[in-house]
């Protein structure tokens, strides 16, 4: 803005003799618009179609297998009929729950620190970069890493090694999601709360996190669901087991030995030349897909109302 000159006003009409404005031809722009729109529709349709095809195929092949016994029984001995994936379901629940318990609180606090306290400082920038790099590491590499770190030295596979591998994957996801969600909270809200004479940590807890709560809960659930469907990190850690997870320690215990889980079991059974095993694999795939889709949809429905600040 420049200081106004005394007695000088902007002339109402331009002083230069300007040529009349000529409208531009719209034909080309309309054609380009139509082309891009068409391309977007085709791409979207292909994407949705592929997903629907997968869901359709999994439901078609898996639905018949799902009965009460599927959730409660052990897999049959090779070549036999009946049985279920009860042990794998339980194992996945426990492995994922422990992973979530390890990663979510730490990831959440890390995200809060990044968004509210570290911000653009040097340490925060470094932490953010490490988190971004970690999110880009292929999950099988994480599995091998935990194998080298835990499984090899301890001389046995274990459920907890699987949990740690999954937690390793969840941690940066949760931290970055938390940071992103808190960054969506407008600074006006921070300023108004701080202007009340309330310390920063209380503002963060009572106002900022609360304002972002639906996004934070959604982020946590989706991070958990995502790793629940991971196979690669479990290949070298939890491995698999035909038995129930019936103790914490001991050869088939969560800390002591290979632990059954859905994804690895689906992976194993799908490659077996026995019809019943393949049926169970389809059933397991269906349960995983249904859980992932179901929770995604549920989160959208519950927190649809969105803005709370």
């Amino acid at each position: 803005m420049s200081a106004p000159q005394s007695g000088e006003r902007r002339p109402a009409t331009p002083s230069l003799a300007l040529a009349a404005l000529r409208p531009r031809s719209h034909g080309r722009r309309k054609a380009l618009d139509a082309f891009i729109k068409g391309f977007a529709y085709v791409a979207a349709t292909v994407g949705i179609a592929v997903m629907l095809l997968i869901v359709y195929e999994v439901v078609r092949r898996g639905a018949a297998t799902i009965d009460w016994g599927f959730f409660t029984e052990l897999p049959p001995v090779v070549g036999e009929e009946g049985g279920g994936l009860g042990n794998a379901l339980l194992g996945t629940l426990v492995i994922t729950a422990v992973a979530a318990a390890l990663a979510l609180p730490v990831g959440f606090l890390g995200g809060v620190w990044l968004a509210e306290f570290g911000r653009n400082g040097r340490i925060a920038t470094g932490v953010r970069m490490v988190a971004n790099v970690n999110m880009g590491i292929p999950s099988i590499v994480v599995g091998v890493f935990i194998f080298a770190l835990l499984v090899k030295p301890l001389q046995h596979y274990s459920g907890v090694a699987g949990s740690i591998a999954l937690a390793f994957i969840m941690l940066p996801v949760m931290a970055r999601t938390t940071e992103d969600m808190l960054n969506l909270v407008p600074n006006e809200l921070r300023e108004s709360a701080l202007a009340m004479g309330v310390p920063r940590w209380r503002v963060t807890l009572g106002v900022i996190i609360r304002a972002a709560r639906s996004g934070l809960i959604t982020g946590a659930v989706l991070a958990t669901v995502r790793v629940a469907g991971e196979t690669a990190p479990l290949l070298f850690t939890a491995l698999s087991s035909p038995y129930w997870l019936n103790s914490l320690f001991g050869p088939e215990g969560f800390f002591g030995g290979p632990t059954a889980n859905l994804t690895k079991t689906v992976y194993d059974f799908s490659g077996m030349p026995y019809a019943r095993m393949q049926e169970l694999a389809w059933g397991g795939a269906l349960v995983i897909i249904a859980a992932v889709l179901g929770l995604n949809v549920l989160m959208r429905l519950v927190f649809q109302r969105g803005k709370e600040w």
Partner: protein, 288 residues
């Protein structure tokens, strides 16, 4: 400019718009203040402000008088917000924002290290341009500062909340909605909720940064009426770029231009007989 009349400028012979004396006089219960004799509750001295390397305020000197309304006017971007945001040091939320000089509040330089920011901000409330109810109920919004700063029983708290809402002219509209989220109120109601939240803790000073610029005219007039009643108990500093509003509600007016305080004086004088040409140009609507 609506509600103003025209007079002729002696030097250039141009028409000049001035706020009508009646309107100004009506708002000026304290028109014959003796400025020097009044107690200053805030004094800015040689205040400079920097956004990183960019300087936004230059040697600001200003006296805010106790139990008076001081308006801060000037074109947008001239540093009005920047200036009042130094009073409660809210600018410190951002790393590279720096103030130098002095802001004396109650005998102490608040810019000095060691200032108790929580106490400073309890005593100096702030209302922002955009209403910002907290993500909680109407009741909890008003109770927020009370709970932070005072030990109150349940019924004392309820009484205080009710009183603050009444003084903010909001009680009748929300008395049956105390348990609803603050964000469910209309924009004008939200701003009065923020005022209630602010005055509930009984600050000495209320800083208002364009409190009425994001809400409708009806809500604006409610907030102006509110200021009229608030000034008996509080010292108010209001940033506005609505000059009728400044003329209506304030006792003293400071005119800012490009980070400098160009002119400061009784509102009547600023609007009827400005001493500086830039002030005159601004209040006559020659630039904004």
């Amino acid at each position: 400019m609506v509600g103003t009349k025209v007079r002729e400028r002696p030097d250039t012979g141009q028409d000049v718009l001035v706020a009508p004396p009646t309107e100004v006089a009506a708002a000026r219960a304290t028109g014959d203040d003796d400025f020097e004799a009044l107690e200053s509750i805030i004094s800015a001295r040689h205040l400079d402000f920097f956004y990183g390397k960019e300087q936004a305020l230059f040697d600001n000197n200003l006296e805010i008088k106790k139990n008076r309304v001081t308006a801060v006017i000037g074109p947008s971007g001239c540093g009005k917000s920047t200036h009042i945001r130094t009073y409660n040091r809210i600018y410190e939320l951002y790393r590279d924002h720096k103030a130098t000089g002095e802001v004396i509040f109650d005998g102490r330089n608040v810019l000095a290290p060691g200032t108790d920011l929580l106490d400073l901000r309890r005593r100096m409330g702030m209302i922002f341009q955009k209403p910002s109810p907290f993500p909680m109920t109407v009741f909890d919004n008003v109770a927020y500062g009370l709970r932070q700063h005072y030990r109150l029983s349940r019924s004392e708290l309820a009484d205080r909340v009710e009183d603050a809402l009444k003084r903010s002219a909001l009680w009748d509209e929300v008395k049956h909605k105390l348990g609803e989220p603050g964000v469910a109120l209309s924009g004008g109601q939200q701003q009065r909720l923020c005022i209630a939240r602010c005055i509930a803790t009984e600050p000495d000073v209320v800083l208002m940064d364009e409190p009425a610029s994001a809400i409708d005219p009806v809500a604006t007039s409610k907030i102006e009426e509110l200021m009229e009643s608030l000034k008996e108990n509080y010292t108010i500093v209001i940033v506005t770029h609505n000059m009728q509003q400044a003329a209506r509600v304030s006792d003293y007016t400071a005119f800012f231009y490009e980070g400098h305080i160009v002119e400061f004086g009784p509102t009547t004088q600023i609007f009827s007989n400005p001493q500086q040409k830039q002030t005159e140009d601004y209040i006559t609507g020659r630039f904004s």
